[in-house]
Structure formats: C-alpha cells, structure tokens
C-alpha cells in the first residue's frame, strides 16, 4: 500500500544544509535572534512564519513505484473480479423476453401492418391495424415483471426534437404563449394552443397491447400504468391543468390530453415516460407494470406457458427503418439484464491482475539490479547528467572550506 508519511518527517535532513546562514552571517541571521529583536515592538517586514506561509503544510506524498503500486492493483483486481462474478450471477436471475412485432400481420387479411401504418395520421383517419403474436414462456419469470416497448433507429435524442417542448406548460404553469421551440406544433390551424405542444408530445408512442395467457381460454394478464414514471415526475415535474379551454390536441393524437388525463399531465404517466427522451436511438421505455397481487397465478411472477399478445399497431417506424418490440422483463439491482456489466468488471479485474504481475516482476528486477548499479532505473538523460556533473559537490559540502570568503582571494594570473 502507499505509504502515508508526513512530509516534514520523511525528509533526510542534510546536517550542514544551513551552513551558509549560520556561519557567515555571524549569527545575526539566526531567525530566533531576529524574531526576538523584532518582538520589541518596531514594525518589521519579517514575513509570518506559519507552515502555510512557509509552504510547509504537512503533506502526504505517495510514492508511486512498481513496488508500491502492484499491491494496489492486486487488491483492486480481486475486488473487481469478485464484483464481476457477483454481477454475472445476479444477472442470470433476471429474465427477459423480447418480441419484435414490426412485421406482424393484421388479424384477418394477413396484410403486414407496416404496409398499412405509414403515417402517424393513420390511426385517426383509418382504423387501427390489429395483430396478434403468440409466444411461449419456457421458464417462469419470478419477481416483479415489467412490460416495455422498445424502438430502434428512432432518434429521440435529436437536438431539435429534444428541445421541442414547453416545460412550463407541462408543469401546469403556462397555458398560452408557449415556447417557440414547439413550432410547428405550437398552435393549431384555428389558432388554439396545442396541449401539450411540440414534436416530442406530438410523436407520442401510441401502440397499445393486451397480454393474455392461454390457460385453456385466454386470460388477460393484469397490469397497470401507474408507477411507470419517476415519482418526481408525477409529483413535481408534471402538473395539473385547471382548464382545457382554448387548447387543441396535438395533430397526431386521436384524443386530446383532457381525455387521456382530465386532471392534467401529472396523471398521464405514459406521456411522462415518453417525454423523458431517450439517450440513444435504440431505447426501451417502461409501458406497464404487471399486477401480481390480484390473481394468485401471478403472485410469484409470470408463470411459464403460452401467451398471446394483442397489438393495436398504429405507430409507423418502417419508414425510417426502425423496429418495434414488446419486452417482458424483471429487474435486478442494476436494472435490466445486462451481462456486459459483470463482464466489464471481470475484464477490469483481469487487466489489473496482469498489470500487478508485470509490475511485481519489474519491481523485483529493478531491486536486484540496483544492488549492483545505484543508477539503475534512471532515465538515460538524467543519468548522464548525474555522471557528467562537473563538480558534484554542492555548496553544502564545500562552502565551509572557504570560511570567511571575503579574505580569500585567488591570484588571477601569473605575471
């Protein structure tokens, strides 16, 4: 481990270091004497002598050589490998099932919904494209199960898109004179304020799902929309709306916000989740939380078996080459299933272990070599400097010879 040593004590003090002052100033430069002299009252220019002023604050000066660093790496590698293994084990307990339904076909005529749903306006001009997906859960999902939808190639992080909303409107503090960033979804054609305004809200994900388990007949799996958004969003970030007068729905929406949540944005958790824009073009958003308490079959989680997912397909993604998925998953301490986290920790641990070994070898090698060569391990340039110094001794070693230098004068030349 690094050796914490107080600086002031660790220094090898050259004994005759101060000889210049002590010898030549005839004691007058003796700071104690001077201090006493000045203490008698006269104003003095003598600087303060505190450790701060003299730059002698105690300090910890770690020595980072191979010898001190390799144990540190050893400890860290052990810690990270342990962490990694633990994370991998925990990760294996997290279940996840993802169903890509981009290409699912309409119930009845088997037309690919993607062909029908090309524009966001689709779903209020036409009826929703309904499709069904059958899947089998081999192993039960234990614990709280969450339903997500996942999009790819959807740039919710586009700068213009991100900015296109009005926080004041969403917090319920503003009804009119909305942020110009919302354009062109700021006012409707008839001059009403769009609620909520902006491109983010307008492009709200609007596929809906119904999950059913085949237990002889189809049994709807109960879930809730409550608790999918952050509590701070519900409590503080999104507010109530007192009146919807003079507002219009976003053009892509089927129903106005007042119909989705009469009390205002604070009650529309789906909107809140959507408006927490994703960081990457591939993202997943929490859609529903399964309710495990209502029916005993789901008390432990989601049992294995056959399931059927009914999708009201109305969100167009094929145009920009995106995909849509429905995801069922449980969560661990670090969120969803992600083997990379444990892997990364193990990798870092291994890297540290390798470096630890390398440095340990380096250390023993250097230690052995230093016994024969005191300069071993020095930069060649500095080594050369040391070996070629004209007079190696500094004044500390030789000044004393001169004693009273003013008397000694050397002959300049021979005449």
């Amino acid at each position: 481990m690094l050796e914490p040593v107080e600086d002031s004590q660790a220094v090898v003090r050259p004994e005759d270091d101060d000889n210049i002052d002590d010898e030549d100033l005839e004691g007058a430069n003796n700071s104690a004497a001077a201090g006493a002299g000045n203490a008698s009252g006269a104003t003095s220019n003598r600087p303060p002598s505190s450790a701060f002023h003299q730059q002698k604050l105690p300090a910890w000066q770690p020595l980072l050589t191979a010898g001190t660093v390799f144990p540190v790496f050893l400890i860290m590698s052990i810690a990270f490998i342990c962490l990694g293994v633990a994370l991998l084990l925990a990760n294996s307990n997290i279940s996840e099932l993802s169903i890509d339904y981009t290409d699912c076909k309409r119930i009845g005529d088997r037309t690919p919904c993607a062909n029908l749903v090309k524009k966001p306006e689709f779903y209020y001009n036409y009826s929703v494209c309904q499709c069904r997906l059958e899947f089998k859960l081999d192993k039960p999902m234990t614990g709280q199960v969450y339903a997500y939808y996942a999009l790819t190639n959807f740039h919710q992080n586009h700068r213009k898109y991100v900015k296109s909303h009005d926080r004041m409107q969403l917090s319920g503090r503003r009804y009119s004179d909305l942020d110009a960033e919302c354009e062109p979804y700021r006012t409707s054609a008839d001059g009403k304020w769009i609620a909520p305004c902006g491109a983010v809200a307008n492009s709200l994900f609007n596929d809906t799902f119904k999950l059913m388990r085949r237990v002889g007949s189809l049994e709807t799996v109960p879930w809730t929309v409550k608790g999918i958004s952050w509590s701070a969003d519900v409590a503080r970030k999104y507010g109530r709306v007192d009146t919807w007068n003079g507002t219009a729905k976003p053009p892509n929406w089927a129903v106005p916000e007042s119909a989705r949540s009469p009390i205002g944005y604070t009650g529309d958790e789906e909107l809140q989740v959507w408006m927490t824009v994703a960081a990457l073009p591939t993202f997943r958003k929490l859609h529903r939380r399964l309710i495990h308490s209502d029916i005993s079959a789901y008390a432990e989680g989601l049992p294995a078996g056959n399931y059927s997912l009914l999708v009201n397909y109305s969100y167009p993604v094929a145009g920009f080459g995106g995909t849509k998925s429905f995801v069922l998953a449980t969560a661990g301490l670090l969120g969803g299933r992600n083997a990379g986290l444990g892997g990364l920790a193990i990798a870092v641990g291994c890297l540290h272990l390798a470096l630890c070994c390398a440095l340990a070898v380096l250390h023993t090698h250097a230690k052995r070599n230093r016994e024969t060569d005191p300069y071993y391990g020095m930069d060649p340039l500095h080594r050369a400097l040391l070996e070629n110094t004209p007079t190696g001794a500094s004044s500390a070693d030789t000044a004393s010879e001169d004693g009273d230098v003013s008397v000694v004068a050397r002959r300049p030349r021979t005449t």
Binding site: I20, L362, G377
Partner: protein, 1061 residues
C-alpha cells in the same frame, strides 16, 4: 551653513539673466512672484504612475482583456449564444462565467494598481514668513531625462549663484537625516527628470505562457475539426434519414440550416478550451508570488527586507533560467569598503601573502600605518593622510552634543578612506563644503581653506582640490585612477614601486586609488581663480570649462602613493554561484570595474575556477576561438572589456562573438556601460531565443539590463531602490537567488505547467464525450467542480522538498529545458484526455444500453446519461488531479473532494429547488434521487475512474521504476529515508581540494602594460552617477537651518536652496 556663501563676493558676475544669450530654451522660475512678466505656465504637478484612472479603467481594461486570444474567443462564443435557437447549451453558459472571470480579473487589476499608486505622501508644508519676501529668479535647463546633469543659475538680489546637480533633489527623494528641506520647485509632474526617465515597463510574459498560446491554437484546430466533422455528419444524416424521420420537424438541408448547425457545433465544442484557465493561472500566481514574499529564508533580518515579487506573471520562468547576468559591486559584493592598506612613498603597508595555493590573502597594513602616523616623523605619510582627510566630499554629521555620528558620503570608497584616516589620528572634524575643512591631528586642529573643488566624474577619473594649508601654502590635492595620475606627474619618482605594490593589491582583489599632491604659487592661483569662478558660473558648459581649469591645475604633481580598499563579497556568494553553476545556469558578470578586479572577484566567488582556461579578449576573437579548440579538456572562460564589447556589437562579428561567448563556461564583461550591459543581454537573447535570461543588479546602471532580460531581479541595497523598482523580483541578498530559483522557480514551473496541462486535459475529458454524444453541457464544470483542483495543484503542490532542492542544484536542470512542457507533452496529455473520455463514454454506453437502469424497472433517458457521464468525469478528473499531486496537503484534499462534493451538492440543489426556473433546471427535477438511487451510478462510480486511471497509474509506476528522473530519484530516496548524496552523488562527489587549486595552470591573457591599468578609477566609479536619491538628501541634513520650507510638493523635483540670515 550655506553652500553658496562663498559666492557672495564682488567677483561674482552680475549680469542680468535676461541679457544672457540662450542657446537653448531656458526655464526661468520666478521666486514668489505670481504676477511676474513673461510668466510661463508649467505643467501640472499631477502625474500618474498607475496603469488606469477612474475614467480609463473600463475601456482600457476591456481592451487589454479582449486582446488576449482566449478572452476574445469566449466573448465571441457568448455573443453567438445570444442568437435564439442556436445554442445547444444555455444562452448564458459562457457569458456568466466569462463575466465572473472578468470581474475577478478586474478586482485583481484594481488592487494591483492601488498598490502601485500608494507612493509616500507629501509632507506637511511649512509656511515661513521670511521666504515670502524672497525675490529672485532661477534660470536652468529645460526638462530633460539626464539624471546625471543639472545646471542653472539662481539670481537673488542681482547676485548670481551657480546651481548644479548637487543642489537638485529628484522626484521621489526621501529625506533621511533632516525633518525638512527648503526648496524651490524647478520641474513638475511629467517634466521631472525621474518621470522623463521612466520608460513604460516592458510587458514580460513567461516562456510557458508563450508556448501555451501556441497550444491554444492547436486546440482551436481540434475545435475546427470537431465542428466541421459534426456539421458534415449532421448534413449526411439529415439528407439520408431526415426525410423519413417524420417525428423531427424542419428537417431539410439549406444554407441557413448548415450555418446554424455549424454555429451550434462550434458553441458546443468550444468548451474543450478551458475558460477558467486564465483566471486560475492569474490567481495561482498571486499566491505563488505571495509565498515568495513570505519566505523566511529570503528575508534579511538585518536590513529587515523580505523578498518582493513585483510581478506575478513570471513565477514559472524562475524555474527555467539558463543565464544569469550579474552586476558586481553591490550585487556580488557588499559595496561596503574597508581600508586595508596603502603604499606611501615607496613603502607598502600591508602585504598580499601567498597562502600556498597561489591565492593571496591580504595582511592588513592598518596597524603599522597607525603606529607610524602616531610618531609623526614621516612627512609623506602626513601629506598622504591629510589628503585622505581633506580631498573628498564627505560631511561629518554631529548630534546636538557635537559628538560625531557618522561620515556621510555619497560613495562608500570615500567614507572608507575618511574613516581609515580617522583611525590613524587624522580626524575630519568639521567641513564646510566649499569653504574650509578642519582636521584634528592628534588633538591639534588644522584648518584647510578650500579654494576650489573639482569633483569626480567618470571621464576625469580623479578628484582634485585646491586648498590653502594651515601654513599658508596653496596646494593641489589629487586622488584618482593610476592611469590619469601617472600622466600628470612631475617626475617618474616612485612610479615603479607604487605600481609594483598596486599590482599586489590588485592580486588580492583590492581596489586601488593613487594619491598625489602638487604645490601652487599664490600668483598662479590668483590667475586661475578667476578662470575657475567663470567656469563655475557658466551654465551651458560648466563641466567642460571646469575640466579645462582642472587640467591647468593638475600638473607637476608628486606621487605620494596609493590606497587599497577591499570590497567584501556578500555572504554566501561563492557557495551560491557554485550551486547555480551546478544547476546548469551560466553566470556572466557585467561590471564597470576594471579587468584585474573583475577577474579577481571572479576567482573569489568561484565563477572562475582553477581548472578553467581564462582568457581576456582584447585580440582577434577568431584567434581566440582557435585557442579554445587547442586547449581541450579545459573549460574556457572569457573576460572581455567594454571596448572590445562595443567592437563586437557590429553585426558582422556579433554572431562570431556570441558563439565564442556561448562556448565559454563563464563570461566576465568589465568596464561596461549600462547600455552595454543591456546589449549583452540582448545579444544572448537574440542568439538563443529559447534561453531564459535573468539579470540581477542593485544600481540604477543595472536598470536597462534588468528590463532587457526575461526576469529582472533587483537587490535593495545601498545604491537606492531604482534597480528594485524596475525589477520583477527584488531581494536583499544575492544568495537568496538560490532559493528563488531552485525552490520557488522549480516548484512554480512544475505547478504552472501541470495546471495548464491538467486544465486542458479535464476539459477534453468531459467535453469530448460531447463529441461522442450530443450531450447537454454544463458550464459550471469549469468553475466550481474542477476549478479548485488545478488551483490547489498550482499553489500547494511541492515537487521536491526544499532541503533537496537546495542541496542538489542539479535538480534544477530538469525544469530548465522544455522536457517537461513541450508540444509532445501537451499532445500526449490531450490524447490522454480523449482516451479517458472514450473510456467514460463506452462504459456509460454499455451501462445504459437498454435504458432500464433502475431496480424498479423504470427507464432513464438522455439527461440521466448526461448527469452520469458528468459525475463520472468530475470524479475521474478529480482523481487524476490527485495522481498528479506530489504532495497532498490539506488544501489538495479540500480541492479534490470538495470539487466532487460541490458537484453532488449542486446536483441535489438543482434537482430540488428550481423546478420552474426553466432551462436545464426544469429538466433535472428529481435527478438527485434518480442518480444516487440507481445502483448503476455506484457501479460506474467504482469502476470507471479505476479503469480510466489504470493506464496513468501503471505508466507512472513504470516510469518511476525504470525511467526515473533525477527529481524522482531524489524524492524516492527521501521517502526511503536514505541520504541521496551517499548513493546517488557518490561517483561524482569531489571536493575542491587544495591540490586541485595547486594544479591549476597559470591563467593566460593580457600580459602587456597591465601596470598602466592597475589602480582604480576613483572613489565613485562603481557608485557612479547612479541616481542616489536616498543619499542626496544626506547633505541636506546640515543644510536644514532655522529657515523653513517653501517647497510646494514632496514628490516633485526640487532645488535645494539655502538662505542666509
């Protein structure tokens, strides 16, 4: 006492000033006559030595600030951010920090200017009624900048009194031995000689700073690359995906769109340039300068003078000095002269005794002289001592009880002689400057009437007096340099003996001065007296005319002998020079002294060493150059005279000359003028543009050199404060230079470079992640979260202990070159920043790849990721700063943990208390819980900094094991409690032994007519005509009679004028 009293006589010229022919425009000042005819309005006495005034502050300050490239850059950014809809950050994310930084800088400037302004105040004016009745006129030279000349005539009651520089008090003069003087204002305000002389202080910037500006350009290039790359990438994406991404509005390509994206990207990436660097550096340097001033090791308790850092912008330059140009007298020596012996009438008092090593020790001859003088038998010795007692400008100062306090002299040589004479029984008892001198010899009073005085000038190199001796005979007393005295002798009697003795004195490093006497018949004096008075009253050509008269007087002299005065070396000079040489610094001595004295001092302060080949350059330089080649294995040293130097100043031979000089281990330039001093510095600067030069001196004649060099150090010594005032750092002793360079310089260099590198690195680390993501930026990063870290690094870090810095001057070499701060180092640091940002980016990317990062299944988005990256970057950068610390003081902990803590506190505050403030504050509501409540944050917190810094730690460990620098080696020894000198410096440890001295070969060089050049040039060569402001006030003490003052202001140039009652 009235210095002009003897002028009150019929022989005075009575011509009216208006009749006088004026070859140039004279300045006429009327006494007490506000209504005088032809009255001219002189300039106002107000002067400003400050940089700013109340009115000009803001315009001038802003101009100065925006002239700095980074400030102008950030100002542009702040302007661009005002365009609505363009800025990816806030509108004020640059404007606010920039304003804060400007405000801080403005406060600093005001404080510095305030300090500059606080000059000593004008004293209370006394208003005596007598002076009101005084009528007269003063005619003098128009204002000029020559501080060594002043001539004028004062007309009082139609009587004309000559006035000269002796009567002039310069602006800024301090009264020392009197409470007030009576004066007449001659020059005011900007017309004063001192103000005319003041040049604008040259703006000095350190090498590190100049290089950093170049790197700033590199950063701009990277910025341009990022901006263009991102813009083009945006265009490509928009054209390919844009038309299909229905959810994004206004997504078509146009020129306007391109422009907007370009500016947006520019604003986004500009943050890789650290906005806080300038202000961090400025304030860091103030602290560093403060620590220099506080250093007790550089405090002189006798003089009660601490070191002073007059500028803070050159602290790191002190760590890179390659050349030191040093003055000799007062800098290497104490400028306190001690009489050691003499040669009188062929007899030597005192002797230079070989101490067996070809070095000479001088055995003082004072005792033998004293005993012989007491016998009173030796007539020549009597004359000799009489001249020492009479021929000078020293004034005895007495207290109210008539006890002698001290002899007040303008040059230390003179007072040394007078004190020596007193010691031998010849006491200067009383003196009236131009009237008489009373000498007390063994209780007997002798009165010498002063008939004429010819003061010392550097041209004449001698001083003479015509006196009427107590026995009535008129004699000429003369003392001066051997060269001028020898040519005015009646016969060569004693010349060879005296020369011989003087060369012995010079060998022992003593300064010599010839003494001669001449007899003058009354008749001849009567004739010359008229000429003398005429010359004295001539305004325009007084000096030339006086010199002519002097020539007529100073002939047929009889040589009496010569004095030997020792100018003691300052304490610790040889040791300091030895260490500075070890530190790889070349030391050149530039002195007005003559060659032999300079060489002597060179030896005694170890600048010239036994194993050196010392040559004096008077012959062809190229010849000499061949000489260097022929004497292999010996280090050459060059001694050059001012004359040769002026020859070398021709462009054609200058390069060759400098080449020769640079091959020498040391160069001593003697008999050089102030201008030549600065020329030498300039030549070296031009020949070696990368070398850092430091000039150190104590007198006014060193000011040009001090201003010319990269770093000017002034010694606050006996020659006034001019050098200190012009310097960047002022000390009280030469030996303090060692700590200033080896400790403060080396530390500060390390600190400043690491801070610059670190500041750029930290911005790269955080903001290049913005290049990976389009991530919101937080301008606060620079000021509050990582701002203190470089500051602590830059103020409290210590790269090596004081003890070892001082003990092993070799350590200094590390900072001297640019090994530790150059383009490669800078680029590697920046690359390291990019690497760290990539690690942070990739890890966070991996972590949030699904978006479900909470244990309750909830998902997070862009802002969560931004906060995460940001927090990890703050921590990584903080730890990296810790890694770069060589000494973790309490301040370091405060800065590192405090910076990280600041961020966390900021996060809590911003996510809770301003939900409706708009901007990013509204976006991050609840993010504290989101971040701290997610295991992901803690996981990344543990893993990412550890991973990112793995390379740094491993590389450091490798370097400190296999490629240690000297400093690191010594540091390790320190930690392992080993004495570095026993292990490291063992092989090279070598004492300068007596044997080595004996082995020293004879020094080659000029051998011809050395005798003609022996002997010093006179009492005031070294003290010279530097503006001895403090000293000039001295004689005024006795001048302060019962009269009172009419002087208008204490800080203006004043004429000292006396009134008899």
């Amino acid at each position: 006492y009235t210095p002009l009293q003897n002028q009150l006589g019929p022989q005075l010229s009575q011509e009216h000033p208006s009749q006088q022919s004026a070859a140039y425009k004279e300045r006429v000042i009327h006494l007490n006559r506000a209504d005088a005819e032809g009255r001219v309005q002189f300039r106002s006495n107000s002067i400003s030595t400050t940089k700013y005034t109340v009115v000009t502050f803001w315009p001038k300050f802003l101009f100065e600030q925006f002239r700095k490239a980074p400030n102008a850059f950030f100002f542009l950014i702040a302007l661009l951010q005002q365009i609505p809809g363009i800025s990816p950050t806030g509108r004020f994310t640059t404007a606010v920090p920039l304003s804060i930084i400007m405000l801080l800088t403005a406060i600093k400037e005001v404080v510095e200017d305030w300090v500059r302004q606080s000059l000593p105040a004008t004293s209370e004016h006394k208003q005596p009624s007598q002076l009101h009745s005084l009528q007269g006129q003063l005619v003098c030279e128009p204002p000029d900048d020559d501080t060594t000349k002043f001539k004028g005539s004062l007309y009082l009651d139609q009587v004309r009194y000559p006035v000269s520089l002796n009567q002039l008090l310069m602006r800024g003069t301090c009264l020392r031995k009197t409470s007030y003087v009576i004066g007449l204002v001659v020059y005011t305000g900007a017309d004063t000689k001192v103000m005319k002389n003041s040049k604008p202080v040259p703006l000095k910037r350190s090498r590190v700073e100049r290089e950093s500006n170049r790197y700033f350009l590199l950063l701009l290039l990277i910025l341009a690359f990022f901006t263009l790359f991102t813009t083009v990438a945006n265009m490509v994406w928009t054209s390919r995906i844009g038309p299909f991404a229905w959810y994004i509005t206004n997504n078509e390509i146009s020129v306007g769109h391109f422009g907007a994206v370009l500016i947006t990207c520019f604003i986004m990436f500009h943050t890789i340039v650290p906005i806080s660097l300038q202000v961090t550096l400025e304030f860091m340097r103030i602290f560093q300068a403060y620590f220099i001033q506080c250093d007790l090791d550089m405090y002189d308790p006798i003089a009660d003078i601490a070191a002073e850092a007059r500028t803070s912008s050159l602290n790191e330059e002190l760590g890179q000095v390659n050349f030191i140009f040093s003055d000799k007298t007062g800098t290497l020596t104490q400028n306190s002269m001690v009489f050691q012996g003499a040669t009188v009438a062929g007899r030597m008092y005192g002797d230079a005794v070989s101490n067996g090593a070809e070095a000479y020790e001088f055995v003082s001859g004072v005792n033998s002289m004293r005993s012989e003088a007491a016998q009173g038998q030796n007539k020549d010795l009597d004359d000799f001592l009489s001249i020492l007692t009479v021929c000078h400008t020293v004034i005895p100062e007495r207290d109210s009880h008539d006890n002698l306090l001290e002899y007040s002299a303008s040059s230390p040589d003179e007072s040394a002689l007078v004190y020596a004479a007193k010691d031998m029984g010849y006491e200067l008892f009383e003196r009236s400057l131009d009237t008489f001198v009373i000498v007390k010899v063994n209780g007997e009073m002798r009165r010498f009437e002063v008939l004429a005085t010819f003061e010392f000038t550097s041209d004449r190199k001698r001083m003479s007096m015509v006196v009427r001796c107590p026995n009535g005979a008129i004699r000429v007393f003369c003392k001066g340099a051997d060269s001028v005295i020898f040519s005015r002798l009646q016969s060569p009697h004693l010349v060879s003996e005296t020369t011989n003795h003087m060369s012995k004195f010079a060998m022992a490093g003593l300064r010599t001065l010839c003494i001669a006497v001449g007899d003058m018949p009354q008749s001849e004096w009567s004739r010359l007296h008229t000429e003398y008075e005429n010359a004295r009253n001539d305004i325009e050509r007084r000096e030339a005319k006086l010199a002519l008269v002097a020539e007529k007087l100073e002939k047929n002299l009889r040589l009496l002998g010569a004095t030997a005065i020792e100018d003691r070396l300052q304490v610790g000079v040889p040791a300091t020079i030895n260490d500075l040489l070890l530190a790889g610094i070349r030391i050149w001595v530039l002195t007005g002294d003559k060659l032999e004295t300079a060489v002597n001092i060179g030896y005694s302060c170890r600048l010239l060493q036994p194993e050196m080949e010392v040559r004096s350059a008077v012959a062809e330089l190229s010849h000499w150059l061949c000489g260097i080649a022929s004497v292999k294995g010996k280090e050459p040293a060059l001694v050059i005279e001012g004359e040769s130097l002026s020859w070398a100043s021709h462009q054609s031979v200058r390069n060759e000359f400098i080449d020769v000089c640079l091959q020498c281990r040391t160069v001593i330039c003697c008999r050089v003028s102030p201008k030549q001093k600065s020329d030498v510095v300039r030549y070296v600067r031009e020949a070696m543009p990368s070398a850092v030069t430091l000039a150190i001196g104590d007198g006014a004649n060193d000011v040009p050199m001090i201003q010319e060099s990269h770093v000017g150090v002034g010694l606050k010594g006996k020659e006034g404060l001019q050098a200190a005032a012009a310097s960047d750092y002022s000390l009280s002793q030469f030996r303090f230079l060692k700590k200033l360079l080896l400790v403060h310089g080396a530390w500060n260099y390390h600190r400043v470079t690491i801070v610059i590198l670190f500041s750029f690195y930290k911005n790269i680390t955080i903001y290049v992640t913005a290049f990976w993501f389009a991530l919101w930026t937080q301008a606060l990063y620079n000021v509050f979260f990582t701002g203190a870290t470089p500051f602590a690094l830059g103020v409290w870090d210590r790269s090596c202990s004081v003890e070892n810095c001082m003990r092993y001057p070799q350590l200094y070499r590390e900072s001297q070159g640019s090994d530790r701060y150059n383009f490669k180092v800078f680029a590697l640091w920046m690359l390291n920043g990019v690497y760290h940002s990539a690690i942070i980016f990739l890890c966070v990317l991996l972590a949030v790849s699904t978006g479900a990062v909470f244990s309750d299944g909830k998902t997070a988005g862009l802002y969560y990721l931004g906060s995460l990256v940001y927090a990890i970057a703050v921590i990584t950068v903080g730890l990296k700063a810790g890694l770069e610390h060589t000494a973790w003081t309490g301040m370091s902990h405060l800065a590192i943990w405090g910076g990280i803590g600041n961020y966390l506190v900021f996060l809590v505050i911003s996510s809770n208390f301003f939900p409706h403030a708009g901007g990013n504050f509204s976006e991050v509501v609840g993010y504290d819980r989101a971040l701290f409540g997610s295991g992901m944050f803690w996981y990344l917190l543990m893993l990412v900094p550890a991973l990112a810094l793995t390379r740094d730690v491993a590389w450091k460990a490798y370097k400190k094991t296999c490629r240690k620098t000297l400093r690191e080696e010594v540091f390790e020894m320190e930690k392992l409690r080993k004495d570095p000198s026993t292990v490291l410096f063992q092989g090279t440890y070598r004492k300068v032994t007596e044997k080595a001295r004996l082995l020293r070969n004879a020094v080659g060089g000029r051998s011809a007519d050395a005798s003609a050049n022996l002997g010093d040039s006179g009492p005031a060569v070294e003290a010279s005509r530097g503006v001895n402001l403090d000293e000039e006030a001295g004689p005024a003490a006795s001048a302060a009679s019962a009269a009172s003052s009419a002087a208008e202001a204490g800080t203006v140039g004043r004429l000292r004028l006396t009134v008899s009652h």
